[in-house]
Amino acid sequence: MTAATHEEIYKRGAAAPSGAMVGVGAVLAVLGMGLFAFLAGGDDPGRAWRIFHVDFVFFTGIAMGAVIFAAIQKVVRGKWAGPIIRLAEAAVAFLPVALVLFLLLFLGRDHLFPWIEHPTPVRGNWLTVTWVFWRDFLALLVLFSVAIAFVYHDLRPDVSKLRGEVNGWKLRLYEMVAGSYDDSEAHRELNDRRIYRLAPWLILLYAYLFSLIGFDLIMSLAPYWISNLFGAYYFMGSFLTGLTMLGLMTVYWRAKLQLHEIVGEKIFHDLGKLIFGFTMFWAYLVYSQFLVIWYGNLAEETSFLFYRLWGEWRPVGLLVGILVFLVPFCGLIWVKSKITPFTFTLFVTISLFGMWLERYLLVQPSLTEMGPAFGLVEFGVTAGFLGLFLLSYGLFARAFPMVSPRLSQKALHSIH
């Protein structure tokens, strides 16, 4: 636990071995997106677009949720997550990709949004192509810009400190990001002030704009069904997926970068507690919405649940409850299972997969008479999205330090 070994760790963090992640990501992205392009031009483009939509809301939610975790740490002045905070911030690299994917979504609008073919006069002009796509595009643009600015300011001091450890293109990149920052007291204060100002704005914008995205891109698929809770339900679920993704990345990079000295049992314990807590919160939101719909028993409200909890979709509906709530709840309630990397990874993966299935369950039954279908189309396109995510994450890891010296030091000081 000497200072020298910590310096070694920070050096390794600035030269993260991201080859495997970039390679796997690139292969999956090319294959998956190629398959999608082929299918979208084929006989049944609707099926390809539907799964594209599911994956878009799922992966955008992961990336944004993870950045929000970092922002929350700043707002509450949390120090414990210092060594792993960059692993959450790295997901910011997927956001520009998400914006491009959103523009692509515009091409498939006729296959997705039922209100284009059958306009909904009861909703006034709220659901029209121009208005929906412009406002959502601007919402994502603003949100992603603030997220990127936030991560940029959190990167600057670390990049400036580690300038001496890198060379070539990386040095030029570091010089560019660090800019005039020179670790003087004044610069540090100014930079911190910007971080602490951006973080709460980012969280507020996330809550407002991701609610809008949830309403526009998921709830409007069943345009006569209304739930005021839906926006919150979507962004809290996304936050949970962001946390679970961070959990998996922590396990991965801890082994890859040999971070055992600075990422100990305590971090897994705390992360596990957060995931456990938000698992319960997810169940609470589902239940609180289910209960009022069950009680009110109004046809326009119950139809949404009937489609998902009875008939063909029943197994998927039950599976979502089991995978997102029941299994992680029973699994992560123990201290031992949180701090053991194997069980932690197992339950976190189950939760993440369950959340994907949940997004699938939210989107699909609104759009198709078809029951649940899991074939090459679904897995292929999802693999393509996973590939894009890993590729952008891996490229971030290749470019920037994955361990923040100053935040890790703060975390270690706060323990003693």
Binding site: L291, W294, Y295, N297
Partner: protein, 168 residues
């Protein structure tokens, strides 16, 4: 009240000295000592270790009792005096989950308090004391028979106790 057993009371000025002594004491097999600190401190906590509290069993049993009681109460009263409300079945689980959940919390909380009181009274470990422990000193009291006292005294002094005295 139980009687304070005889032993050694050490007064420390520094946290690390106290933590080292605690570790050394544990190293030679003492585990029934009492540590005083004017403020909560992670280093001392770590040195003392985290024994699993028996109170959590009370919480679990109380919570499960409450869960059972909540469902039993709602279902039994519904079937005992059946009235159809809002077109729902007589015994409808969804709203009863709320009652059961709240009973779980209520019974869990009450039995936790009961467990806390029970163990505080039954498992209390009277120990010698010094008023400085609420001010700026850390105290370690080791109950031990007369023949082991010199040994314990040595350990405490060796690790930087400011003052060591024998309590009869």
């Amino acid at each position: 009240m139980k009687k304070v057993p005889g032993g050694i009371l050490a007064v420390f000025e520094h946290v690390d000295a106290a933590a080292e002594s605690i570790k050394a004491l544990k190293g030679v097999g003492y585990d029934d000592f009492t540590v005083y600190s004017p403020v909560p401190n992670h280093e001392l906590e770590e040195a003392v270790g985290h024994p699993v509290s028996p109170v959590r069993l009370w919480t679990l049993l109380g919570g499960l009792t409450g869960l059972f009681f909540g469902f039993a109460l709602t279902l039994w009263t519904s079937y005992d005096y059946p009235i159809v409300v809002g077109g729902k079945g007589i015994g409808s689980i969804p709203p009863y989950i709320i009652i059961a959940f709240e009973m779980t919390i209520l019974f869990g909380a009450l039995s936790t308090v009961a467990g806390l009181v029970f163990h505080a009274v039954m498992d209390s470990r009277p120990a010698a004391y010094d008023p400085r422990f609420t001010d700026d000193h850390i105290g370690v009291f080791v109950p031990c028979p007369v023949e082991r006292r010199p040994n314990v005294e040595d350990i405490l002094k060796e690790h930087g106790a400011k003052e060591v005295r024998v309590e009869l």
